[in-house]
């Protein structure tokens, strides 16, 4: 029943990927979405990913956990994830469900999400730079 799978478009802006969920995702489409995101991070060597939930009115424990998984898996691949546009009702129901997504970074909207990603990636690069400098100093003092 592959035809029932809904594919979410993933757009690239500079070093970042942006995916905005505009439809009610059933479980298999959500899993496909996770796999597509990780594959695109790998192919594009993106440094960051925004998952925009502005149009999403329900996030149940399955989708919530999946978003948490994407953030963790992307981190393993060296990419940062920011979730944007969480509606008040979604934030409330997620908390009441007991799913706090403590490892997921959020921003109010897409614009703020991009700014957050830029800051995170810059921090990562600076840390990397400091580490490299220190290593070079240790090797060639």
């Amino acid at each position: 029943m592959a035809s029932e799978i809904i594919r979410i478009p993933i757009l690239q802006i500079e070093d970042f990927l942006v995916a905005s969920i505009q439809v009610a995702l059933h479980d298999r489409s959500a899993v496909q979405f996770r796999d597509d995101l990780l594959q695109r991070i790998y192919e594009t060597k993106a440094k960051g990913l925004i998952i925009d939930l502005t149009a999403v009115d329900i996030v149940d424990s399955f989708i919530g956990r999946l978003i948490g998984d994407v953030a963790e898996m992307a981190a393993l691949m060296g990419a940062r994830v920011v979730v944007t546009g969480l509606q008040p009702a979604v934030a409330i129901t997620l908390t009441e469900l007991g799913l706090e997504l403590s490892g997921v970074i959020t921003a109010l909207n897409l614009e703020k999400g991009i700014a957050t990603l830029r800051r995170l990636v810059r921090q990562d690069e600076e840390e990397e730079g400091t580490r490299d400098a220190r290593r070079a100093h240790d090797l060639y003092p």
Binding site: D27, I58, S61, A89, E96, L97, L99
Partner: protein
Amino acid sequence: MREGRTIFIHSDLDIVSARVEGRELAKALGFGTIDQARIATAISELARNIVLYAGEGTVTIRAIEQGGRKGVEVICEDRGPGIEDVNLVMRDGYSTSRGLGMGLPGAKRLMDDFEITSRVGEGTRVVVRKWLR
């Protein structure tokens, strides 16, 4: 007013149909967006339990009225394996399957009333209600 509707739950596609039905009824009854999301999310959790643990079952969603107050009632029934220790599955974090262990306690927190009856080998019935304030 809408009549109650029963949705047969066989797969993850039906989970979406059930929660859309729940949200529409809640909206028609005058529930606000946050309560609509609570009702739809609870339906999603309960319907997923049916798919995960029983394979199939039904979700019946209807408008109710009691003592002058209106509400939404959701009845989830399956003929699955049943639950041996209901108190255990109502604990946060408890899960025997791919569930997060928050389906039942989560649904309970999202709704006003929560009743569960289960018999091993016969199935499980969960009734939840949300009242219009």
